[in-house]
């Protein structure tokens, strides 16, 4: 690996290295990182981290993959040692990578360090022609690539769709396993399909038992219908096998499943129980029927939990794509899980599905399977999920005398709520929604207004911080007001918000 060290010498004139957390999440070992740190220490280079670096760190240490946690802890403690020699800079008010890149991209003495498929990479690519800064890009095989000019950065960071998997055609399957059959993984574990849990347009989900272990497992197997396993699906599942995604509430396709004949037929994932959010967040009555003792705090907690899972997936270059309430499951304790992730966009393989309500205006009318989604697109979907959960399933653009289709109102940004305050709600639909709006803190109202009227795209981390602040505020005042949902909030009450 001395190769890397030589390459780093090309960056001798750099004053400041900005490191994005996606680099750390996708490291295969700490060796590569050590070389980089050695270079920094030997040449006394400054390293900058932002607030979202630590927000991401907080999420990654909650995952179930010990190796990932070990690497993250190692990196963060190594960076801490740089503090002693005054080499570490911390930008505490930067929560969106785009802001920092905007400030620094014209500076040739700055170097960005990030993962090829990260949101950071996407933001760097926004400055295509004006880019003067340099970059170290971690690619999919875990190597650090030094890029000293904008063309090299573009080649390493801009993602094009993998054309080899596009097009019609599906794999020949001589036999589709069903209840009672045995299936196996690549490494020879055998599973017995015991009963059907559910069937959909793509395949059937089975309960399974691992051979040799008497009781049932925490896993279920999804077997695709004949004609459903195409090149895109298979390649995606093969990449998914190699990603070490393991997080509470993410039913990740862990391993490919083969029939007894050795043909791939499906995949295995963790079992999740509960109801889809779409069944519960469909009116205020439905929410209270399922969770009679819930207050606003519980709803905010659900929003934060959903967003954290998306934030975790984003770290690995995974874009959920077909994000919608129906693909999120909630159990009786209020724990949420993402399901149906086998369709997600991973690296350069697109997600072929999408639902109009959650589709960003800039990708309206495109064929999803033929274009890669961006993090910007996904952030829009996240903001719709956030709003829908907050408003008992109401879409942000639902309104009186709205257009014929929701897409038209999305495109025109016809948001029926005011910038802040309680006036100008004439277009808000019938129901308890005016009340919900009126009880939001002014900062939160403006946050929603900026998202849906002004068209600002907040990052997932910003949405989490905003919602967390609102949550903390409610929690803080809980002891003073018994009916915490019935009070209106004054501006000066929230001192935590910038």
């Amino acid at each position: 690996m001395s190769n890397n060290a030589d390459n780093f010498e090309l960056l001798n004139d750099i004053d400041l290295f900005v490191i994005d957390f996606s680099t750390i999440a996708n490291l295969n070992s700490t060796d590569v990182f050590d070389e980089l740190v050695n270079f920094w220490v030997n040449h006394r280079k400054s390293v900058a981290v932002t607030r979202d670096f630590y927000e991401n760190y907080d999420v990654i240490i909650q995952c179930r993959n010990e190796e990932q946690k070990r690497i993250a802890n190692y990196v963060v403690s190594t960076l801490e040692t740089l503090k002693g020699s005054n080499l570490l800079k911390y930008f505490s008010n930067q929560t969106r990578p785009g802001d920092l890149i905007e400030k620094l991209h014209k500076n040739p003495r700055v170097c960005f360090v990030y993962y090829k498929y990260s949101e950071f990479a996407e933001n760097v690519c926004d400055y295509e022609q004006n880019l003067m800064a340099k970059a170290i890009v971690l690619n999919a095989s875990g190597e650090l690539i030094v890029c000293t000019d904008k063309d090299a950065i573009w080649t390493e960071s801009f993602n094009r769709i993998d054309k080899s998997v596009i097009g019609d055609g599906f794999f020949k399957n001589s036999y589709i396993p069903t209840t009672g059959d045995y299936v196996k993984t690549r490494d020879g574990e055998r599973y017995h399909l015991t009963s059907t849990i559910g069937a959909g347009g793509e395949g059937t989900v089975y309960d399974c038992q691992k051979e040799g272990i008497g009781d049932g497992t925490d896993y279920v197997v999804k077997i695709y219908h004949k004609g459903q396993l195409n090149k895109l699906r298979l390649k995606k599942l093969m990449i998914m096998e190699t990603k070490k995604v393991d997080f509470n509430g993410v039913s990740w396709p862990e391993k490919l499943i083969y029939s007894e004949k050795g043909e791939p037929v499906g995949y295995i994932m963790k079992k999740i129980k509960g109801k889809p959010l779409s069944a519960i967040f469909s009116s205020d009555e439905d929410v209270l029927k399922e969770f009679p003792y819930w207050t606003r705090e519980n709803v905010l907690w659900v929003i934060i939990e959903v967003l954290k899972k998306i934030q975790y997936l984003h770290l690995f270059g995974i874009i959920v794509g077909d994000l919608r309430l129906r693909n999120i499951i909630i159990d009786q304790q209020g724990n949420v899980s993402l399901c149906d992730i086998d369709s997600c966009q991973i690296n350069d393989l697109p997600c072929p599905a999408g639902f109009p309500d959650f589709t960003a205006p800039e990708i309206y009318n495109i064929e999803f399977g033929k274009k890669l989604r961006t993090y910007r697109n996904e952030n829009f979907a996240c903001s719709v999920v956030l709003f829908k959960l907050l408003f008992c399933g109401l879409h942000p653009y639902d309104q009186i005398d709205g257009a014929d289709s929701i897409q038209m109102d999305i495109n025109r940004k016809k948001f029926p709520y005011p910038q802040c305050g309680t006036y100008g709600l004439e277009k808000v639909p019938w129901g308890p929604y005016k009340g919900i709006w009126k009880h939001l803190p002014i900062q939160y109202q403006m946050f929603l207004y900026n998202m849906f009227k002004v068209g600002e795209r907040y990052s997932v981390i910003e949405m989490i911080i905003m919602t967390q602040t609102y949550y903390n505020f409610l929690y803080k005042y809980k002891s003073y007001y018994y009916f915490v949902n019935d009070i209106t909030f004054e501006t000066e009450d929230i001192d935590d918000l910038d």
Partner: protein
């Protein structure tokens, strides 16, 4: 104000789901009393199948939360048997044929379209979103009565125009062998031919309608599937050994 233009808050559920308005226009003319091979009348067969269908729609959580139903019958003259209401708490009314009556098909369709229009306006006024409305027409004959032909032409003009602009989904269904399929077909420009069903196999038809509503509510506004343009796996079979990653 006409009977069908009175809309009150009680007609709507509080659900934030996108609504799917469905208007059934059902033939209740004298010919529906014709016996079938299973010793029942056509109307009895239809009532049974319709009842089962509504039961199935109610048990499908997603559809039950979305579908709003109305029923217009036509035997002698068009009648609004069931004004629009959420399917959730609807009691399925029995449809009774009118003896020796004619078939005012065109008039009934016009009434149905008016109902859908009023319903759409009501959604808009309340800020509710909706899927494109469905008009489901059942008949076992052809337009009859005073000015039947003229009224049918008006109805055809209205449905085809709405359908072309993607503002209506039409199911034109003929039961039995006495149907004038030529005129029934003209109600839709997207459907290659009218749907023809055997009077003893109405369950199959209603299963198709149920599956269609489920796919619309859960997937999207893509109505291709409703017109039989199936979205099955495309292309050739590939041998896995011939493909390298």
């Amino acid at each position: 104000m006409n009977q069908w233009e009175r809309v009150t808050a009680g007609d709507f559920s509080k659900s934030t789901r996108k609504r799917l308005p469905i208007c059934f226009c059902i033939d209740a003319s004298g010919s529906m009393m014709a016996p079938t091979s299973s010793q029942k009348t056509r109307m009895q067969e239809l009532n049974e199948a319709f009842g089962k269908f509504m039961g199935a729609m109610k048990t499908n959580e997603d559809v039950a939360a979305s579908a709003d139903i109305s029923i217009v019958t036509f035997g002698g003259e068009p009648e609004i048997l069931q004004p629009f209401a959420p399917i959730k708490d609807m009691i399925v009314p029995e449809i009774r044929p009118v003896q020796y009556s004619v078939t005012p098909l065109g008039e009934a369709i016009q009434v149905g379209l008016k109902l859908l229009e009023v319903r759409k306006d009501a959604y808009k006024k309340r800020g509710m979103k909706y899927f494109q409305p469905w008009l489901v027409v059942f008949t076992d004959g052809e337009p009859e009565g005073p000015n039947a032909a003229e009224n049918m032409e008006i109805a055809i003009r209205q449905t085809t125009e709405l359908e072309r602009n993607n503002k209506l989904v039409v199911f034109n269904i003929g039961i039995g062998s006495d149907v004038n399929f030529d005129i029934l077909k003209r109600l839709s420009v997207k459907r290659e031919k009218a749907i023809s069903v055997d009077e003893t196999n109405l369950d199959g038809l209603f299963n198709f309608l149920g599956a269609s509503s489920d796919s619309i509510v859960n997937n999207s506004d893509n109505t291709d599937i409703l017109y039989g343009k199936e979205t099955v796996a495309k292309g050739e079979e590939i041998d896995i050994s011939e493909w390298t990653i």
